[in-house]
């Protein structure tokens, strides 16, 4: 299909390990967003890209979190030295652009469990 694709769907890691989560947005979508969704809660904004530029990373909880989108398409969210509180579903969304408030299209998310 032509939707937003995230991988892996599930990731289990030991505390202290580094993890990388991938997001393939819809082709041609300029804007890309990462959200963190704790169990039983709504998503919380992490960061936003317009093409390859990271315009807002104010939601990243610590400097252990790093996101990139080097060619303006695929994005990777990296978490270094993972902690148990990092356990959550990480959602990626893309939109055509932000003008006129284009709706965001979401992937299925990556469920991250830190042991």
């Amino acid at each position: 299909g032509a939707g937003v694709s995230q991988s892996p769907r599930y990731k289990v890691a030991k505390r202290g390990q580094d993890v990388a989560l991938r997001c393939d947005p819809i082709s041609g979508h300029v804007s890309l967003f990462w959200y963190q969704q704790a169990l039983g809660q709504g998503p919380e904004f992490l960061t936003y890209f317009q093409n390859e530029a990271q315009l807002d990373k104010s939601g990243l909880p610590s400097d252990r979190f790093f996101a990139e989108r080097p060619e303006g398409s695929v994005s990777t969210l990296k978490i270094q030295r993972t902690q148990q509180e990092d356990s959550a579903v990480y959602l990626c969304a893309s939109s055509l652009h932000t003008e006129g408030n284009q709706p965001q299209h979401f992937g299925d998310g990556t469920r991250l469990s830190i042991l």
């Binding site: 804007s31 967003f33 959200y35 039983g40 809660q41 709504g42 998503p43 919380e44 904004f45 936003y48 807002d56 939601g59 579903v89 959602l91 969304a93 939109s95 932000t98 003008e99 408030n101 709706p103 965001q104 299209h105 979401f106 992937g107 299925d108 998310g109 469920r111």
Partner: protein, 114 residues
């Protein structure tokens, strides 16, 4: 700061009946967008309906409609003729005009009784 509140953690409805999910928000802006998203167990957020604050007419998408009360900062979702496939978490979200960051409520779990 903008906030979104969903006061109903869980709602249940008999199949084929109508249910209303509530959402209130707080903002000092006059132009913004409001959304209802559905998240089934598969986890994918699916846009159900959206409302532009400058439009007085309530948005409607087939069996889904909203009651948008701008002065009261209320944005409820009505689902008519509920179907088993409507069972999911429903999230209300706010987006300030020309902004990009969605502010989300905590969600309402909708249970459909056959």
């Amino acid at each position: 700061a903008q906030t979104v509140t969903q006061s109903q953690p869980e709602m249940s409805v008999q199949e084929a009946e109508t249910v209303t999910l509530s959402c209130t928000y707080d903002t000092s802006e006059s132009d913004y967008y409001l959304f209802w998203y559905k998240q089934p167990p598969s986890r994918q957020m699916i846009l159900v309906i959206r409302q532009e604050a400058y439009k007085q007419q309530n948005a409607t998408e087939n069996r889904f409609s909203v009651n948008f009360q701008k002065a009261a900062k209320s944005f409820s979702l009505k689902i008519s003729d509920s179907q088993l496939g409507d069972a999911a978490m429903y999230f209300c979200a706010y987006d300030m005009d020309s902004n990009y960051q969605l502010i989300w409520g905590a969600g309402t779990k909708l249970i459909i009784k056959p």
